[in-house]
């Protein structure tokens, strides 16, 4: 079936059409840009929440509980779970869904597992397109769940309206490492497994660190949950909505959508140029010649690279 035929079904809420469109976009097929530019007009309505944190903190369980709650409220929810691809084989073992099995039968809920596919930051390159598609499919809320390490925090922040950081008591040094940048990006902190010893202490530590961060309009919340028993999720949803209201009132909501469009503009331009460059480069006589000379040792690779890029750019103009 062609992508144009899938679009009406997507708008009508057909999960299979949504799923097949996601595949085409994720696989960077030739129709990707066509699809994305058509659905762009339908995006911007979904409330996008990023959920990140160390492995084992209970992100998937929280996602499961929260989505269940939202589904009961009659909201349509999309979930994107990102796991790393193997750098060796390019394959992936995606295991988050195992904790979301109670959601499979909930109407309006759509969960998709994504492999990071070589994206350095850890967030799948396709994640933002998938979020757009879920948005276009009429989801009220889209949750992105990913292990929060390295650059993922920044990527999530760019994508999400609200960023939630999940931690557990007793990580000890874990909280210290949050200082390095991550305190700034989270709007809501969750101390999960709050029935455990040290939960209150972790909450105190977080509050303390937050007090050292420069005050902003939104004072990040610190919440306790016990996701296995579905405790604290209603409060999480209240805080999320509170944050959303603030975004809307302050104009941030629209600004975030403009930022996202800008990011797409920039990144896609880069991609297109690179793609073109690469395609031409591979069959370029000049490159082959340079390669030969580097192989022979008559030229260093740095000089050769400069030479090629300058030559390429000169020929563009």
């Amino acid at each position: 079936m062609s992508w144009t035929e899938l679009l009406p079904a997507l708008r009508a809420g057909d999960p299979l059409a949504l799923s097949r469109l996601i595949s085409r976009v994720e696989n960077q097929g030739s129709e990707k840009v066509q699809i994305m530019k058509t659905v762009f007009a339908w995006t911007g309505k979904a409330y996008i929440v990023g959920l990140t944190g160390p492995p084992g903190a209970g992100k998937s369980t929280i996602t499961n509980g929260l989505v269940e709650l939202l589904a009961e409220k009659g909201l349509k929810v999309g979930v994107v779970c990102v796991d790393p691809s193997s750098p060796f084989s390019g394959g992936a073992f995606l295991g988050d869904r195992i904790r979301m099995t109670s959601l499979d039968a909930k109407p309006g809920v759509f969960i998709r597992s994504l492999a990071s596919r070589g994206s350095l930051g850890g967030l799948s390159a396709a994640a933002k397109d998938v979020v757009q598609l879920l948005d276009a499919a009429g989801k009220d809320v889209v949750l992105i769940e990913t292990v929060g390490m390295g650059q993922v925090g920044d990527e999530i922040k760019k994508l999400a309206d609200t960023t939630v950081l999940v931690t557990v008591p007793g990580l000890g040094d874990g909280i210290q490492t949050f200082k390095a940048g991550i305190m700034e990006i989270a709007d809501i902190f969750i101390v999960n497994k709050a029935e455990r010893e040290g939960a209150d202490e972790t909450v105190r530590d977080l509050e303390m660190m937050l007090s050292e961060v420069e005050p902003k309009k939104w004072r990040p919340r610190v919440l306790k949950t016990c996701a296995l028993r579905k405790e604290g999720l209603e409060e999480l949803w209240e805080s999320l909505q509170e944050h959303r209201r603030l975004l809307e009132q302050s104009g941030q909501w629209m600004a975030q959508r403009r930022n996202r469009a800008n990011t797409i503009l920039l990144e896609n331009s880069k991609e297109h140029v690179l793609e073109k460059f690469q395609r031409e480069l591979e069959k370029d006589e000049l490159l082959l010649g340079m390669r030969r000379r580097v192989d022979e040792g008559s030229l260093d690779p740095y000089t050769a690279a400069l030479f090629i890029s300058e030559y390429f750019l000169a020929n563009r103009t």
Partner: protein
């Protein structure tokens, strides 16, 4: 970025033996596939997940003797939902007498306990039916 084969791996029903399904999943990952591990599931949930993940292959693992009822049910539901082109494979302990009925019901292949995982990889590559997977 090239197309990846997406595999949905599930343990059928109450069967408790997860190790084989996980080992196969990891080796399919090593063969460059993206494997969504679902854990223990019943046919309805497996279908929902297969739709949402747009799976090319559904792997059903069972050593619990429930294959005869639940396996064909998965194929039937997939067809009803417009996913008849998904390759459905079974693995585990399955009596030889039951195999013809499973094949007839649309299970593409049944892999026994001594299968080399390379055989599964080769089978998937040779038999992927979904048009989108071929591109």
């Amino acid at each position: 970025m090239s197309r990846k084969i997406k595999v949905l791996m599930a343990k059928l029903g109450l069967d408790i033996h997860w190790r084989g399904a996980v080992a196969v999943s990891r080796m399919l990952r090593d063969a460059g596939m993206e494997v969504v591990y679902l854990g223990n599931q019943f046919p309805e949930e497996i279908i929902n997940a297969a739709i949402q993940e747009d799976a090319d292959v559904v792997g059903l693992s069972t050593l619990g003797g429930n294959h005869a009822v639940l396996g064909p049910k998965v194929v039937r539901l997939l067809r009803e939902k417009g996913m008849g082109d998904v390759l459905v494979l079974m693995g585990g302990v399955i009596p030889r007498d039951d195999m013809p009925a499973l094949k007839k019901a649309g299970i593409a292949e049944v892999f026994g306990p001594e299968t080399q995982i390379q055989e599964i990889v080769d089978f998937i590559h040779a038999n992927l039916k979904k048009a989108s997977a071929a591109s």
